[in-house]
Symmetry: C2
Subunit: 545 residues, 2 copies
């Protein structure tokens, strides 16, 4: 038996586009002699469809796509994810289902049992869990059909669910497991995925064919990395990251488990590739081609510009250099050099005239009050307004360049440098931005060495440095990582050896700035806990602030 | 037996503040001879605590509060909501629980069974549902203890859950039901709440004591309206809306069901009161006193200013009038008159110099390109920057004045008139804003009649009117209501008789502007479907856009 995995880049709500991709994949699979082709979770509508699921019209369109795949299933089995109606009046109205279609007939539907409702996932918002479990049969082989999370209760010391759907299916002695997934990227996820697939394969002693989405849906990036695992627990194949791919596997070969092939998992390399795909798909799926951003001469905007050029092409990236009276001389030079290295269009607009116009208009109201964060913010907002004007006039999208450390502690101006359609580095700590910069320069200088080497500064007042108001980034980032990714509270952080006053100051800054993050651009998610839908904190919360 | 309901305004994460309120309520209840005092759901930590629940430290602090209430329970029963640990390794780590404390002892804990995971609710993100059900006993009376949603599967044609916890508890023949709730306001919720309480009382034939939160937590407003219902299905008492309150009821009297008292439920009156509380608590809970906003002479900013003055006091509201060359003469007059009517501080800053500075800086880049939305947006962003400068310099919070109709169709400038810490009218359709304006003027003119009567205009280009680019608001708002609140898709809307081209245009505008709403201020929620956490739509979604 030959089994094809179709790792596709779906687009939420683009039913016709997704269907055409799947129909093409069915034809390819047939031409390669496949008996079965497997598509990812909710592939007909894209993942995550969120509250579109509450519209009957959206569900009707999903059914129509399945109907058309059914017609295409002559001579081949198709496994595909789609939302389906729950016929029982009690409980949620939908199931998250895996269809098994063969030869023009719907042979079976297995609903998802374990509904991830944590981090970015909201599945119990929409779906009723399955209570019935049955294998399906193709050419004498029994298949245990599972949807994503259904395999994640195994190999886990603190399982999130009280039941295990595959345990139920094993009574029918299936020959192999198919898992259709929507498992988003973070830099540690591919390893966790293999761990879980292996825990299942070892528990049940049969191979698994695991197919994932690829491509980005706004903030959420899917890396693909679909897995075929032999019964001996070896990774028979791990499909490419960040690329659409269709591959056909021979079940007998997989059973023997001779071959073993895994993708390399270097953290910074993965983050780089994820961000490039994240930018590319945000533009493509919104129907835009061109980006604009502000280049300050600092490292964050430099890294963002390079990633944008790689994602969209140099010809589609345009930058503004917007020096003020507080900008150091080398800032413009560094920014210009970067633009020249990248071959991107740059313009220089000094912000002084606008800044002075604001100063004049506010003078009588601010009489006698000292220069403070107000004036710093005006500079940042003048820049934001200039960038948005270019964006509006030329129909490009402004990229936000704020990094995760800044976003965490609120070191940025709302409606100023926090402007942008998508945040490229909002899930990348400052110390990781440096690693990214070095990675981007590995084959020769793209980012001027000076942008990397100089002490970080917002340059919003004379001689300002980030270190004037923030702890050193190597310490700060460790505290932030423990607080944000690992949910360690003040007591745990102090027990780890971090200075008590520092811990309290940092946690307070993080919590007090929820109001800013609430209005931030969506953040390309590359860690296990990014800002946005995956992290939901109260704004008026008093805890630690 | 005398039962006290304590309808309190808790503050998320403010453990000491919440505890002090509860301890004071315990003393009051004792002094009024109560045998039992009931506090709302998760009262120790405030609702919704969101991802704070993922921190051990936060849960420890909840336990500490319960411990202190236990000590205060000498001679009185206390029912209080708190998160508790799930001792079983499988499943979520927490329960959403109702403690029953009496005379220094913990007599029982009933966990919540039905975990709302829709709209603004995310409870299955954190909690495991209960699987055990037991009544508790106080002075010979058996009490069926339930938490909020646990009563909501009754009286519902399409129940969301497959089990009904009170059905289980009825085996022990309880004498009455206590329900501790966190049931947020929308203008139809009080009536729905009474319907559901009645459905339970009629099903089980015993009275119910239902206690709710009051006060706002950022966007989510609790109206109180706690309910005591007699076994005959009459509302024995409905406690005040939008006020903290402690009332003691005699069980025998409630059993007899002679008395009947309900609060009036006029929609606009309720919305008015909710918005005033929403503004007041946002400031109070963040520790701010003063607001600023821009007055355009139009109706939205006028209504916002009046609500702010009522919430914070006239002395704490300050406005900017920021005319441009496109402002009509009467706009400044209307705005000034409103400020004078309210007795609030106003300043006039013409935006022309800043606008011209931007124009000059961009001139060479925009050479030969026509005036368009770019220049309109620059005006709005200059205003946003001026308002934020005042906010930064004087430590007040900018109120956003965008209404729901504009927010829906994206008729507003990101980083311009969409600036603000909290959106006051973002869940109030334009046609409802008119009703609110008339309501505010009911005892005499506060809002100048001209602001209400003139055709709506953004005044960003000569002679501009909203009706140039939008359908008439009375039609638009109907389509939006059906699409947003009622989740009716294009087919259903057309079947209702709305023009097909109009429906497609409006739905497309709504969907294409998710990117703007993603960066909007939190919106005070007054309808059953507000923008924000309760409505989660993809940005790169292709459906209907």
């Amino acid at each position: 038996m030959r089994i094809a995995l179709a790792q596709l880049n779906c687009h939420i709500g683009n039913f016709e586009g997704n269907l055409q991709k799947m129909l093409a994949a069915v034809e390819s699979a047939k031409s390669e002699g496949a008996d079965l082709v497997c598509f990812p979770e909710l592939a007909v509508c894209g993942y995550p469809p969120r509250d579109f699921l509450e519209f009957d019209d959206f569900i009707r369109k999903s059914y129509t796509s399945v109907e058309r795949l059914l017609q295409a299933s002559k001579g081949i089995g198709i496994i595909v994810g789609a939302p389906t109606h729950n016929p029982v009046v009690e409980g949620k109205d939908l199931f998250n289902s895996a269809y098994f279609l063969y030869d023009g007939k719907q042979i079976g539907v297995q609903h998802k049992t374990l509904l991830p409702t944590y981090d970015i996932f909201d599945e119990y918002r929409y779906f009723e869990p399955a209570t019935e479990f049955q294998t399906v049969e193709l050419k004498g082989k029994k298949i245990a059909l599972s949807v994503c999370e259904d395999i994640w209760n195994v190999g886990n010391e603190n399982p999130l669910y009280t039941i295990c759907p595959l345990d139920e299916m094993m009574r029918e002695k299936p020959d192999f497991i198919v898992n259709i997934s929507a498992s988003p990227f973070d830099y540690g996820q591919a390893a966790r995925r293999i761990h879980v697939v292996r825990a299942n394969v070892e528990r049940y002693g049969i191979p698994m064919f695991y197919v994932n989405h690829v491509g980005a849906q706004t903030d959420i990036i899917f890396d693909g990395g679909s897995i075929v695992m032999s019964p001996n627990g070896r990774v028979f194949d791990e499909m490419a990251y960040f690329e659409e791919s269709l591959k056909v596997y021979d079940l007998e070969e997989v059973m023997r488990g001779g071959q073993a092939s895994e993708q390399p998992k270097d953290k910074i390399n993965l983050i780089h590739d994820a961000l490039v795909v994240g930018i590319r798909d945000y533009f493509q799926k919104l129907g835009f081609k061109q980006a604009i951003l502000g280049l300050s001469g600092g490292i964050d905007s430099a890294v963002t510009a390079v990633l944008a050029a790689r994602a969209l092409g140099s010809e589609n990236v345009r930058v503004l250099l917007m020096p003020s009276q507080f900008s150091s001389g080398h800032s413009v030079d560094d920014a210009r050099r970067l633009a020249e290295n990248l071959g991107i269009q740059y313009d220089i607009i000094a912000i002084k005239p606008m800044y002075e116009a604001f100063e004049a208009a506010l003078q009588s109201h601010f009489e006698g009050l000292p220069f403070n964060v107000t004036e710093e913010n005006i500079q940042a907002r003048v820049r934001g307004t200039l960038l948005m004007a270019m964006s509006n006039k030329f129909g490009n999208i402004l990229l936000n360049t704020t990094n995760k450390s800044e976003m965490a502690v609120g070191y940025g101006t709302l409606y100023g440098d926090m402007c942008g359609g998508i945040s490229v580095l909002g899930d990348v700590y400052k110390t990781e931005v440096y690693e990214l910069a070095r990675y981007l320069n590995k084959d020769g200088e793209v980012i001027p060495e000076n942008s990397i080497a100089k002490p970080p500064s917002a340059e919003l007042r004379p001689g300002q440095k980030d270190s004037d108001s923030l702890p050193p980034y190597d310490i700060l980032d460790q505290v932030l990582y423990q607080y944000i990714e690992c949910r360690q509270g003040p007591r745990e952080l102090i027990e780890m050896g971090f200075d008590e006053a520092l811990v309290k100051r940092v946690l307070r800054m993080v919590n007090m700035n929820e109001f800013k993050r609430e209005q931030a651009a969506p953040v390309l998610r590359v860690s296990s806990k990014g800002f946005g839908m995956g992290r939901r904190m109260p704004i008026v919360g008093k805890y630690l602030s």
